[in-house]
Symmetry: C2
Subunit: 296 residues, 2 copies
């Protein structure tokens, strides 16, 4: 199983705003350097708990929409059958759409990606108490490159916590510095791999030797905080999460921003592209700021 | 699934040394009260790392003994086939036997159980990096009562860490205060349940409502520390552990001490008793202190 232990040094910059543009904000050099070094930035309590509650409530409403729940856009837990993910949230709801264009998030994302961006994918991940399964180590870029044909590492995920994320409810774990390498994964991508891999990942996992080396180099971090906390992580940062063995639900929102200069082409794995709700191939219109600056 | 949400208040004392005997040491009243309240005591770095290394090395030697590995006494991981547990370690090795009789551990255990004790079970639990599966919430007493016929709650487990236990390698999680209740579990015990349940537990899990209530009351704690750390936990304290998603192995030793006044009778589930290496029904001779007091 340890046949392929190679890894390649990243070719793309981590921060795409260059030279003077790097310093035009909103992020200062300290935060930028940390993002460059670790591959993520954590903002504990970025939004207030009151600000994020309506998103959580709207999700509960969606769970009552039986047509939606039966659609491919909704992923249920292999064990319990409960809703685990809803994709393309921002197309279903004005509230989510406006949040993707919140000037404070969008400003940082434009700086990191060096220009205009659009949403490649949006989703909510919900781990119910005692039920949510975990997710093996992976780089999102590896999937987006292979299965969606995303050419370069020029995307960033914004994850907004809708519930407390703590030690026991399966928080996201990241390997700081892992985004500096492209770690090839085992096995050819099977056709329609997404139908399976969204539930539990069996192919496309980095070798244990590579994981061991990268963890020995950078360690593991699992940011924890109250609802409203924000994580920005680079598309190639290795991450995983464990089961939720606590009674506390863990519900996180993900917006994947991609540079308008990095739109997906033909998938590199040779299969048909994944559906629109997983990989937006239709609308690459640059996001405009939602200029009604609501209180954080 | 939520049909049986009852739980019963514990009938047995938590600390069995009564009146003046409670205060004859070695544990002071502060530690005793904490054990009484939480159902466990954590001693970070109780032994030095040098002191525990030989036990770890001996375990590696045992893994080379193919006859032993093939025996029922050794449990392999359902996914990887690696050694996950070895039972009755103290019967295989003088070093382990002497450790069960270390005066410092034995003194505390005698005080907690109010008199002489013997080993009901000893085992080592090994979670290899990336491989160790988790274990659902359970009380050991529930199994020992039902499957081994242990009459009362008068046993304590001593767990000695042979490796670092940290946030990411699947440390033991406990629900403080859960030992005050007897939480019935679902479903009748199948015959020879132990063959299956040692690998992954499917029956005998407390109801989610009970777990939720107990966690809301007492929270969850996962003691962490270096090799040599010691955990004493009451036989009825609910505990669980998550997968090891890190490259760091997690190897813990368990000695289960039972009072000589609490020897198992006929199993309450009505089946044949479990094998000797899981539940000692033969040798109830009180443990004597190993009086060569090696340095901690």
């Amino acid at each position: 199983m340890e046949q392929d232990q190679k890894r390649f040094t990243r070719l793309d910059p981590v921060i795409h705003a260059r030279n003077q543009d790097r310093w035009s904000g909103p992020l200062g050099e300290e935060a930028l350097s940390r993002y460059e070094r670790d591959g993520f930035l954590w903002f504990e309590g970025f939004f207030s708990q009151e600000r994020v509650r309506p998103f959580f409530d709207e999700l509960k409403e969606m769970a009552k929409d039986t047509d939606l729940v039966k659609s491919d856009q909704v992923i249920t837990d292999p064990d319990s059958g409960d809703i685990r993910s809803v994709f393309a949230m921002h197309e279903l709801s004005r509230r989510f759409d406006e949040l993707t264009r919140d000037p404070r998030i969008l400003g940082m994302v434009r700086q990191l990606l060096g220009g205009d961006v659009y949403i490649h994918q949006s989703r909510i991940n919900d781990k119910f108490g005692f039920q949510g399964s975990g997710f093996n180590w992976h780089s999102d870029f590896e999937t987006w490159h292979s299965e969606d044909g995303m050419p370069r590492m020029r995307a960033v995920s914004a994850s907004i916590m809708l519930t407390d994320n703590n030690e026991f409810n399966g928080p996201l774990m990241l390997i700081p510095g892992s985004h500096h390498y492209f770690v090839p994964c085992y096995g050819a991508t099977p056709e329609d791999n997404w139908k399976d891999s969204l539930k539990s990942q069996r192919v496309g996992v980095p070798s244990q030797q590579n994981l061991r080396d990268l963890v020995n180099q950078g360690g593991i971090q699992a940011p924890k905080g109250p609802p409203g906390s924000l994580l920005l992580f680079e598309c190639n940062t290795l991450h995983a999460s464990n089961k939720n063995l606590s009674p506390w639900p863990r519900s996180n929102l993900f917006f994947v921003y991609n540079s308008v200069d990095n739109v997906p082409g033909k998938p590199f794995c040779g299969h048909e592209p994944r559906p629109h709700f997983l990989a937006n191939r239709e609308d690459h219109e640059p996001l405009s700021m939602h200029d009604n600056l609501e209180p954080l």
